[in-house]
Symmetry: C2
């Protein structure tokens, strides 16, 4: 558990209903740049021994922490999967379907094949993990490309949803910087380290 | 004109037809993280005397250089405007319409009002400037919020389209790191410094 992130969640996070964790004042709309840089360092440290050659994330809100993680890993390239399928997508892309529970729609994410060279050691990074659909989509892109997945780094896991369990059960190295265990009367309850 | 960016455009950029500048191998799909960091430093230097308090960009491809610029400006906050209008947008957002010539659709961008406090000195940053619709949308958000626009920083201007002229004519401080003057037989012709 990363202390600076825990403090930011406690100070600025808002719990809505029993499942919405609103942290867009520092994570995914307004970005606390120092905190984002520090989160990137923490993720880079967690995967420092894993020979990461490329960081993969999904637009839009994974880009900031993807970038700071890539910086802290010695400026490895960052690739962000794009959403949607424009008319001019040819055979030169890998695609995966990602269901959004929030918006209740199926989205397609895609990466140009040339940006995921076969055999590359890839770290997946994202800002949030809820049901894990986005990460599963990114894992599919990594597999299609014949890359090696070295791990998954997440800023905030919603521990009461299924994504974290699925990842842990899959055996992949998985590091969340903070886990929300519940929302109780508007208060965000964080898991102890 | 920023030398490292010029070299990247010359080495990796692809001109398609007479107007498409494809630089997604280092700028807006796969990100050259060292170059992105350097572009942020260059933009921060250009606006170092302007008292920037917040960097504003639009998702998705402005986020990387927006972040590195905000880092280099001493970790001022980065706010990125979101695209689209979800059902739950209330009166607490500023919105602007942005026409996409590429996709030939009108998009809405929005920012939560609380993240653009009145009077804030705002620097707009984006990866690309073509017809300037995105920047005009961001300027509208800044005006609606009663913020002060200190300038606009852009990585790559397509100098043969209207956005750059419009910005220069408007009198705002405007800094592009590279300007593409034309595409000739697939070759990207860069403006001299």
């Amino acid at each position: 558990m990363m202390e600076a992130l825990r403090k930011a969640i406690e100070a600025q996070g808002v719990g809505i209903g029993d499942s919405i964790v609103k942290v867009d004042s520092f994570l995914n709309h307004r970005i606390d740049v120092a905190l984002s840089t520090e989160m990137g360092r923490a993720l880079a440290e967690a995967f420092a021994e894993d020979g990461v050659e490329l960081v993969l994330t999904a637009e839009a809100s994974g880009i900031a922490v993807g970038l700071t993680t890539a910086q802290a890993l010695g400026n490895v390239p960052l690739v962000f999967a794009k959403k949607g399928t424009p008319l001019n997508v040819g055979p030169n892309v890998y695609t995966a379907n990602v269901y959004s529970f929030t918006k209740q729609v199926m989205n397609t994410i895609r990466v140009d094949r040339s940006y995921l060279p076969e055999g590359t050691r890839v770290l997946i990074v994202d800002d949030f993990l809820a049901n894990g659909e986005a990460v599963e989509g990114l894992r599919s892109l990594v597999e299609q490309a014949g890359c090696t997945l070295v791990g998954v780094g997440i800023c905030v896991e919603k521990g009461f949803q299924q994504g974290g369990q699925r990842l842990r059960a899959s055996g992949v190295k998985y590091v969340p910087l903070a886990v929300v265990d519940a929302i109780e009367n508007g208060k965000i309850v964080l898991r102890e380290a």
